[in-house]
């Protein structure tokens, strides 16, 4: 059983809480410590950004985090080393990578093999939509990585079907138009969740702008299998805030599950 499947099994209906961090932000040592902090705070899975110079899907907080990491001289190889070290300490903890296409294709696509060898479970490439994803997903699976695709509220039904077919581990659902960052209204699209479940997609997890317990509860009420919080954690970490209690607070809200059992 994959680490994602085992996690969803263990949670038995309670929502999964995913913490997103940018690897190497602000430096390798602090980044490694932050990973342990989010686990200690109660995260069920981590999604780890490998910093890219031109992150078009990201808002100011994640852009700044990537710039800090790259400014500290962090290389892709360092990111894989961080993942490998984390994997050695946490053999069963689900680990996803989020990055951008150019880092993957730049050297003959050996990225997939390196990611799998480091111990990552999945890979989401933010600028590879379903329309381009087929060859990428095949290569990822061959390398032993679960491809994770994004579904949005404006994604048409035939594309949702492709996403349901290709996305493994979980399906990343975008709550609203726009880039990563703080979410104004706690509104989550139940229709998207229903359509994905109907299409037999991997468990839908909401991301983009999850920053309060109310957001988490609303996402769970909309029928999601979990949430991923990124900008809020990264921003708080940059200010030296208490990440473990913040994660614990958000994690607690995943229990407010109104889904039919």
């Amino acid at each position: 059983m994959s680490r994602y499947a085992a996690m969803f099994d263990r949670l038995a209906g309670e929502g999964a809480f995913g913490a997103f961090l940018v690897l190497g932000d602000p430096d390798l040592e602090t980044s490694a410590a932050l990973l342990e902090t989010v686990v200690a705070g109660g995260a069920d899975m981590v999604e780890l950004g490998i910093p890219f110079s031109d992150p078009v899907a990201d808002g100011p907080v994640i852009q700044a985090a990537a710039a800090r990491a790259l400014g500290a001289g962090v290389k892709v190889a360092d990111c894989f080393a961080l993942i490998a070290a984390f994997r050695a300490r946490h053999p069963h903890f689900p680990v996803g990578i989020l990055t951008y296409a150019n880092l993957v294709v730049t050297r003959g696509r050996d990225f997939f093999g390196r990611a799998a060898k480091a111990g990552a479970d999945s890979l989401l490439v933010a600028d590879v939509p379903a329309r381009e994803a087929q060859p990428w997903a095949s290569e990822m699976r061959a390398a032993g990585l679960a491809p994770v695709l994004i579904a949005a509220s404006n994604t048409p039904p035939q594309t949702l079907a492709t996403i349901a077919r290709l996305s493994v581990g979980y399906t990343y659902c975008v709550t609203r138009a726009g880039i990563t960052g703080v979410h104004a209204a706690a509104e989550f699209d139940r229709d998207l969740i229903d359509a994905l479940r109907e299409a037999g997609a991997a468990p839908p997890v909401f991301g983009f702008g999850i920053s309060t317990p109310e957001h988490v509860a609303a996402a769970m009420a909309a029928g999601a299998s979990g949430v991923i919080s990124g900008s809020a954690i990264v921003s708080l970490a940059a200010q030296g805030g208490d990440i473990a209690s913040f994660v614990a607070t958000l994690k607690q809200a995943t229990g407010n599950d109104s889904r039919p059992r």
Binding site: A57, D58, G59, N154
Partner: protein, 386 residues
């Protein structure tokens, strides 16, 4: 999408999923408009009576007279950009959008977008790298005069690349009522194809003008390449002819320095701003900051069709340095009484080299824009006694 969006192995639609429906809507509107006579008639009317097409073909008198200049510098707005901006403006209206966003490097595309915003009644916002805002003050003021809001972008190298990033981020949230009026043949499908079709009027006219004036086709067609829209526009109607096609990239402070914009000469295949194409990048795939004296050629990627034309061997790509371009800028002013854009001076610089090597070869040069925007910078670089 109805079309593959590929040029050989290059191109594609590498954008966040949220933007795919907006690109599908745009492709559909573009293809429908291409088949619509009323659209074509309205566009032709604007190109003729508003923008001033056809633009002249000028034979040099004092520089080698084998050089013919396609005078996009005389187009309303000051550069070839106006051709495709009018077309995309009409498409945006057709799609019911009320707002335009665009990126700009030198400011020429920003000026063109601002004028179509004023003409067709769109709210207009232009993203421009903070470094470019500093070196192109005059164009910033031009855009503002025409009612556009200019937003300086402070991330990355504060140039054209960063302005495109910011425009894509805006569009991810605003596509419902906003058209992203991308300024070149780069970006995700359908932009490279659509912008080419809206710019091919340059080559169509130039080809007919060469035949009318000289009775034959040129031996070579030379154009500068940043994103590559004026070059693609000039090349497209010569693709099936026995004519050399030469794109001139910004060699900046030298091809062997790290300060240039010579993507096809010094980059390698990658994915940036929605397309698989040549990209200037480091070992890891982080995008490099480009450099050119001309903001419009200062871009670390290039339109995917140029990547394909390079690999297929149909077009050749060379570089001209900052100094060579400035020399050509000066030579054109002194000998022909024409102030061209620094971008266009790169094409002329290479043409002057070719004319020196082969005095009989007829050369068609894309003079893509006028130099008004560069006069202050030229004064700094050449000295007021130049």
């Amino acid at each position: 999408m109805r079309l593959s969006g590929r040029f050989g192995r290059f191109g594609g639609t590498y954008v966040p999923e949220i933007l795919v429906p907006a690109l599908e809507q745009l492709e559909a509107a573009f293809l429908d408009a291409q088949a619509d006579r009323e659209f074509a008639a309205e566009l032709e009317g604007l190109l003729a009576d508003y923008a001033g097409r056809p633009t002249p073909l000028t034979r040099c008198r004092n520089l080698p007279n084998t050089i013919y200049l396609k005078r996009e510098d005389l187009l309303h707005g000051g550069a070839h950009k106006t051709n495709q901006v009018l077309a995309q403006g009409l498409l945006a209206r057709r799609m019911g959008k009320r707002r335009l966003i665009a990126e700009t490097g030198a400011g020429q595309h920003g000026v063109a977008t601002a004028l179509v915003g004023a003409l067709l009644g769109f709210e207009t916002r232009i993203y421009m790298g903070a470094q470019d805002v500093e070196r192109q003050r005059l164009n910033v003021f031009r855009m503002e005069l025409m009612g556009a809001e200019v937003v300086p972008v402070d991330s990355g190298g504060r140039g054209l690349k960063d302005a495109i990033n910011e425009a894509l981020r805006d569009w991810s949230a605003s596509f419902a009522d906003t058209h992203y009026l991308l300024g070149t043949v780069a970006g995700p499908h359908p932009f490279p194809l659509m912008v080419r079709e809206f710019q091919r009027v340059i080559g169509r006219e130039a080809r007919a003008q060469m035949i009318a004036q000289l009775g034959r086709l040129p031996d070579a067609v030379v154009a500068c390449v940043g994103g590559g829209s004026n070059a693609i526009g000039l090349f497209s109607d010569f693709l099936d002819d026995d004519v050399r096609l030469i794109g001139v990239e910004a060699a900046g402070r030298g091809l062997d320095s790290s300060e240039h914009g010579a993507t096809l000469l010094r980059g390698r295949p990658g994915i940036l701003h929605g397309a698989e194409t040549y990209v200037l990048q480091d070992e890891d795939g982080q995008i490099a900051d480009s450099w050119s004296v001309s903001a419009g050629l200062d871009y670390p990627a290039v339109g995917p069709e140029h990547a394909h034309l390079k690999e297929s061997g149909r077009a050749e790509y060379v570089g001209a340095t900052d100094d060579e371009a400035l020399g050509a800028f000066k030579a054109l002013a002194e000998n022909e009484g024409i102030l061209c854009a620094f971008e266009s001076a790169h094409a002329l610089a290479h043409a002057l080299k070719l004319a020196d090597e082969a005095p009989d070869a007829v050369l068609l040069v894309g003079l893509s824009g006028r130099g008004d925007k560069d006069v202050a910078q030229a004064q700094q670089l050449l000295g007021s006694s130049a």
